[in-house]
């Protein structure tokens, strides 16, 4: 699924717009523990979380994630937005819960992904 389609489907507010709306989301991962995401999320996945600080962006960069969705109306601060813009990591926000967002994505065919090592 392309980022533009995901934004429309989940009615997301883009906080940091993607460099390319056509970039693909190949899976999804949900966690608020950074080490869990770092160790288990697959590259190309969208990450749904309530963690909205600069290290969230650092993890997304290192794990080569497609985008971050902040649930429950969580908003990043200006430093986090700046870092995401610098690093090219799209950030969306939504008033929906993590469960709802993940459910909608899964129903639309975005698979759950977990890294195998």
């Amino acid at each position: 699924m392309q980022l533009s389609e995901m934004e429309r489907l989940l009615e997301l507010s883009p906080i940091v717009k993607p460099v390319d709306q056509g970039n693909e989301v190949t899976g999804g991962y949900v966690s608020d523990l950074l080490s869990d995401v770092m160790g288990n999320a697959c590259a190309g996945s969208v990450w749904i979380t309530i963690q909205a600080h600069q290290n969230t962006v650092a993890v997304a960069v290192l794990a080569e994630l497609a985008a971050i969705i902040l649930s429950n109306g969580v908003m990043p601060d200006t430093h986090t937005i700046q870092k995401a813009e610098d690093k090219g990591i799209p950030i969306y926000s939504s008033p929906k819960s993590t469960f709802t967002l993940a459910g909608e994505l899964f129903q639309a065919g975005v698979p759950s992904t977990k890294k195998q090592t």
Partner: protein, 143 residues
């Protein structure tokens, strides 16, 4: 060792905003070196966790990358306070991080287990009042 390159990155204690920067630089170096993506991914996880351990738990330290044709070596060294019980620290889920740090998504007790899981060689030495040294490597050719 011939054909060996060494890079060192200082890591500041408590600087969560810069946390991950050294791991990011290490990942870039490994990409430029043309290493397999699986090796890069494993090294990135190790570097990130080692870097964040210095940020969260130490008074400061450094992360070093030794790169040679056979191995990606990562050495994390800090100046204290040291780990009282290393075997306890190695247990998944055990952490001494404060509630404030946990609220940010750190301190889940997954750092050292993540490092060991992704390393082909893992060694940790710690002395209370002196510091901790973590030495790991990934075999490039068997990954």
């Amino acid at each position: 060792m011939p054909n060996s390159l060494t890079y060192s990155f200082a890591v500041e204690a408590g600087d969560f905003n810069k946390g991950g920067d050294a791991a990011g630089k290490i990942k870039k170096i490994l990409k430029l070196a043309g290493l397999p993506s699986t090796v890069i991914r494993r090294a990135a996880i190790i570097a990130y966790e080692a870097e964040m351990n210095i940020v969260i738990h130490s008074v400061g330290g450094a992360l070093r990358l030794n790169l040679n044709p056979e191995r990606v070596e990562l050495i994390a060294k800090d100046s204290g306070p040291g780990i009282t019980d290393v075997s306890l620290a190695m247990q998944e889920g055990y952490s001494t991080a404060s509630d404030e740090i946990r609220a940010l998504g750190f301190g889940a007790g997954m750092g050292l287990p993540n490092i060991r899981h992704n390393a082909d060689h893992f060694a940790i030495e710690s002395q209370v009042g002196v510091g901790t040294t973590l030495e790991v490597y990934i075999d490039v050719n068997v990954s």
